[in-house]
């Protein structure tokens, strides 16, 4: 049972006003298995306090909006996911609806036993090592919304990709819908890619519902010598002008020795979208290729807060972040590469490009480096600008309309990210 005091504090501060918060947690279909996580999350939330713009993590986030909205915990209505599973993922799909893992809508028949999905509660109950790691992870997490997620989770899913597996793409849909307005949902997903495995994981987060706060936590471990292509896609919004929703995602990735991970993140915009990424290169010789594309429009706000931490020798990180800003949208990127004392031979490249398609938009960029080791080669770059007038003229002089010419240039700009998606239907979805 979460302590009464902690529940009250959470209710007072987090914007969650369910009178029956304790009852909400107690109503978990898996009983009290996740209570230690709820307690740890609540205590962590109390330690971290409410976010405000003086926290470096929230410099560019309108924390007033975050804090002023009051949310209630989601009801129990669990609709059908209506998923369009890409053809490349036939027989390998997992459904998470309003934070709950739904085996009845999931299909792993095409995985040949190489991918196993289980309820988070079952894994916590039967795997003491995992349960201990979960609590440690919650206690050390510096993200306040990750703490809120931990405080409120009733459910979740753990996906194991077995050792030495070579799998076809896995499709994971995390969707919100069919619940009361003003609700908060807390999807939680753990993926463990076994040693020497080779996998492609596609996570589609469809949380753009009016007046819904989705607070997701995705934790991924890439085993030694494993290779993972990870795509995280947030499709176009379905909410009307003037409606509000918040979607916050915490992505935590740990890479082990000689592993390789490529990541492509693409978001089409949301009234308030925040991605908080912590990517740890903990094994010698691992490498990450990270690419993200954000395209907010209207009055959307998109924020990326990312930390790439090199803790082991001879690791490499290659980071490309591209933002396209339309209308009066704003985008902010706060990305840091941290090279720890023992991480000699580290190589890191970081590039942030902002393309402004409107005079009313705003782009804020903070590409940081924190280097505690002298044997490194690190660089970062950032640009901010509009479409090149000479390139526009070139296209216009060949008969393209201005709109089409801008579109061609924009496609070229985003192509650096979208071309890295190796699953054709997903690439088309993002490009469109």
């Amino acid at each position: 049972m979460v302590t009464e005091q902690a529940v009250k504090r959470l209710q007072d501060c987090s914007g969650v006003v369910a009178d029956d918060l304790a009852a909400h947690l107690d109503s978990s279909p898996i009983g009290a298995v996740l209570t230690p996580a709820n307690v740890a999350g609540t205590e962590r939330f109390i330690e971290l306090g409410l976010p405000h713009s003086k926290h470096e993590m929230f410099t560019y986030v309108n924390t007033g909006t975050v804090n002023s909205h009051r949310y209630i915990t989601a009801g129990e209505t669990l609709p059908s996911p209506c998923m369009d599973v890409p053809p490349e993922c036939s027989g390998r799909s997992i459904a998470i609806i309003n934070g709950s893992y739904r085996p009845e809508y999931s299909d792993l028949t095409g995985a040949d036993g190489q991918i196993v999905a289980r309820h988070l509660g079952d894994v916590v109950a039967n795997d003491r090592l995992f349960a201990g790691d979960l609590i440690r992870s919650i206690k050390n997490d510096k993200d306040v919304f990750s703490a809120i997620n931990s405080a409120l989770i009733k459910e979740g899913v753990v996906i194991d990709i077995v050792e030495n597996a070579i799998t076809e793409p896995l499709f994971i849909m995390s969707k919100t819908g069919g619940i009361n307005e003003g609700a908060v949902t807390t999807p939680r997903l753990s993926i463990r890619a076994g040693e020497n495995s080779r996998s492609t994981v596609i996570i589609v987060t469809d949380h753009n519902q009016p007046d819904i706060f989705t607070d997701s936590v995705f934790e991924i471990t890439v085993g030694a010598k494993a290779h993972m292509d990870l795509y995280m896609i947030q499709p176009g919004k379905k909410i009307k002008k003037g409606e509000f929703s918040q979607s916050f995602t915490r992505l935590k990735v740990v890479q082990n020795e000689n592993s390789y991970a490529s990541f492509v993140g693409a978001s089409a915009g949301s009234p308030l979208l925040r991605s908080s990424v912590e990517w740890r290169l903990t094994g010698k010789g691992c490498k990450v290729d990270y690419k993200s594309l954000s395209q907010p429009a209207g009055a959307d706000v998109a924020h990326l807060f990312a930390r790439f931490v090199h803790t082991a020798p001879e690791c490499e990180s290659d980071i490309v972040i591209r933002n396209i800003v339309r209308d009066s949208a704003s985008v902010s990127t706060d990305s840091t590469v941290i090279v720890s004392r023992g991480a000699f031979g580290s190589v890191s490249r970081q590039l942030v490009n902002n393309l402004m398609l409107s005079g009313n938009g705003r782009a804020d960029t903070k590409p940081n480096l924190m280097i505690f080791n002298d044997d490194v080669k690190c660089s970062h770059g950032a640009t901010f600008g509009q479409t090149d007038p000479e390139q526009l003229l070139y296209l216009r002089s060949r008969g393209l309309s201005e709109r089409r010419a801008v579109s061609v240039l924009t496609e070229g700009f985003s192509g650096v990210v979208t071309d890295a998606i190796k699953v054709p239907s997903i690439r088309e979805m993002v490009a469109s």
Binding site: S358, G359, K366, L369, V376, H380, G381, F384, Q386
Partner: protein, 479 residues
């Protein structure tokens, strides 16, 4: 053997001596009464006392900033004296009236006021603890219409100019240390270049903290009127004490239409004991220029080698259309030094341009942070910025950090930022060693090349001194 050669030979901090002179020092502590006393000692007009008191009341409500990437024990603002001055009569008609001990001090520091007065083409204002002790070349400058006075004298002789510009670039409530300085500033320099005038010589101020338990809070105000030009040089040293001294200065620059100000600094405050980190200056300085007029230009060049803690962001507010700002910086930290330094370029006017070139070198157990902000406001159409900040690490216990803030709120602007962090490669060292050059000299030459983009911006004599200073500082850092 020149003075600089001797310095290089000696290795230790050459400015660590103290001068035994009779000083007038206010008792420790800071209250409204202290502010009134400082104002009374300086016989200031009522409006300036009001300015100070307003700043003090703001300061009382503020807390010290904690966001900088530096760690140091909290400063007890009640445990220091806010005014210390050589006990000599305040007005001097010639250098003959200056305490010979002070003149000797400046000679030892390599600031030959006497000699420069006669021979060189640099006008010097020497600030000793809290007050300006000597300003040279006044007459020649006055003939050209250039006002170069200590702040106290300027308040008496040109109160209307001071009242018009004081606090217009760095308002008293700007931040904690700006409020502190505005409340207790003791002296400093004032420069006014009239319209259509190029200063006939470079102007220079030399700052010296001499007393152990006093802070230094000088204030510099430079106004360049329409179509004028001035180059201003600043140097700083302090004696070697086990305790920390606080230096919280403000520099305000105002450039009107088509005017240009070039401000160069070689900062070599006592950095503390290189082995233990004990002592050293806390250098918390607010420097800001405002390009108020169209086509105006402000250029900051700094070589930061001293201070235990440096917290300093010289910046430009580019308000006038077509105005431009430049920032060139070399920051070297060795021993246990910590520096969090950079710049702010605030683009407001149309077609404004800024360039930022910084080189950070970190050795031993030191930490070096670049923190810079480029902001393009919605009105700054056609704005352009180029930033390059490179860091070099010498040794495996040091650290280098880069925190750029690039904020754009208009479609029609272009910003480019690039940065790199690396060490001196074995190949580079091998190339030098192969030619019979030892490791220390090789590192010195490589660092000198690394910083070349900044050194070329310094006046010639300063450039040579800065390079030698860097070489001296890096001695014993090469393992």
């Amino acid at each position: 053997m020149t003075d600089l050669d001797q310095v290089v030979a000696r290795k230790e901090y050459k400015h660590g001596f103290t001068t035994d002179i009779d000083t007038e020092t206010l008792e420790k502590g800071l209250s409204e009464d202290t502010v009134r006393k400082i104002s009374a000692i300086k016989n200031e007009p009522e409006w300036l006392l009001k300015f100070r008191l307003k700043a003090f009341r703001m300061w009382k409500k503020m807390s010290p900033p904690v966001w900088a990437n530096v760690k140091f024990p909290p400063v007890d603002f009640q445990d220091m004296s806010y005014y210390s001055a050589p006990r000599k009569k305040p007005t001097r008609k010639s250098l003959d009236e200056v305490d010979p001990e002070i003149l000797e001090t400046f000679e030892r520091l390599g600031i030959p006021i006497e000699e420069q007065k006669r021979l060189s083409n640099v006008a010097v204002d020497a600030v000793f603890d809290s007050v300006s002790v000597a300003t040279t070349h006044k007459k020649k400058l006055m003939e050209a219409g250039v006002i170069f006075l200590s702040f106290s004298e300027a308040v008496k002789e040109f109160p209307e100019l001071i009242e018009k510009y004081l606090g217009t670039v760095v308002p008293p409530g700007d931040n904690f240390y700006a409020a502190l300085n505005s409340a207790v500033f003791s002296d400093g320099s004032f420069v006014y270049i009239p319209p259509d005038t190029v200063s006939p010589m470079e102007l220079s101020t030399y700052f010296r903290i001499n007393t152990e338990e006093s802070g230094q809070f000088e204030r510099t105000l430079i106004v360049a009127a329409e179509r004028s030009y001035v180059s201003y040089i600043e140097g700083c040293t302090a004696p070697q004490f086990d305790s920390n001294q606080l230096h919280a200065a403000i520099v305000e620059l105002v450039a009107l239409d088509d005017a240009e100000i070039k401000y160069s600094t070689v900062q070599n405050w006592y950095p503390g004991d290189p082995e233990t980190g004990k002592g050293g200056i806390f250098n918390f300085v607010v420097k800001r220029g405002k390009c108020q007029g169209k086509n105006s230009k402000i250029s900051w060049t700094q070589v930061e080698t001293g201070s235990a803690i440096t917290w300093k962001y010289p910046g430009c507010i580019l308000k006038g259309d077509n105005s431009s700002g430049e920032f060139y910086s070399v920051a070297l930290t060795t021993g246990h030094q910590q520096a969090d330094t950079g710049t702010k370029m605030i683009h407001i006017g149309k077609n404004t341009k800024s360039v930022i070139i910084t080189k950070g070198i970190s050795a031993d157990s030191a930490s070096n942070t670049y923190r810079g902000r480029v902001f393009i406001s919605p009105s700054a159409t056609g704005a352009r910025n180029y930033t390059q900040c490179d860091s070099m690490l010498v040794g495996d216990s040091c650290s280098a950090h880069t925190f750029p803030y690039i904020e754009g709120a208009t479609e029609f602007a272009q910003l480019e930022h690039e940065a790199s962090t690396s060490k001196i490669s074995d190949d580079q060292l091998f190339y030098f060693r192969q030619r019979g050059i030892d490791a220390e000299e090789a590192v010195s030459a490589i660092v000198s090349g690394f910083c070349k983009d900044v050194f070329v911006q310094l006046p010639m004599e300063f450039s040579v001194e800065a390079q030698k200073l860097l070489a001296m500082k890096l001695e014993d850092s090469v393992g």
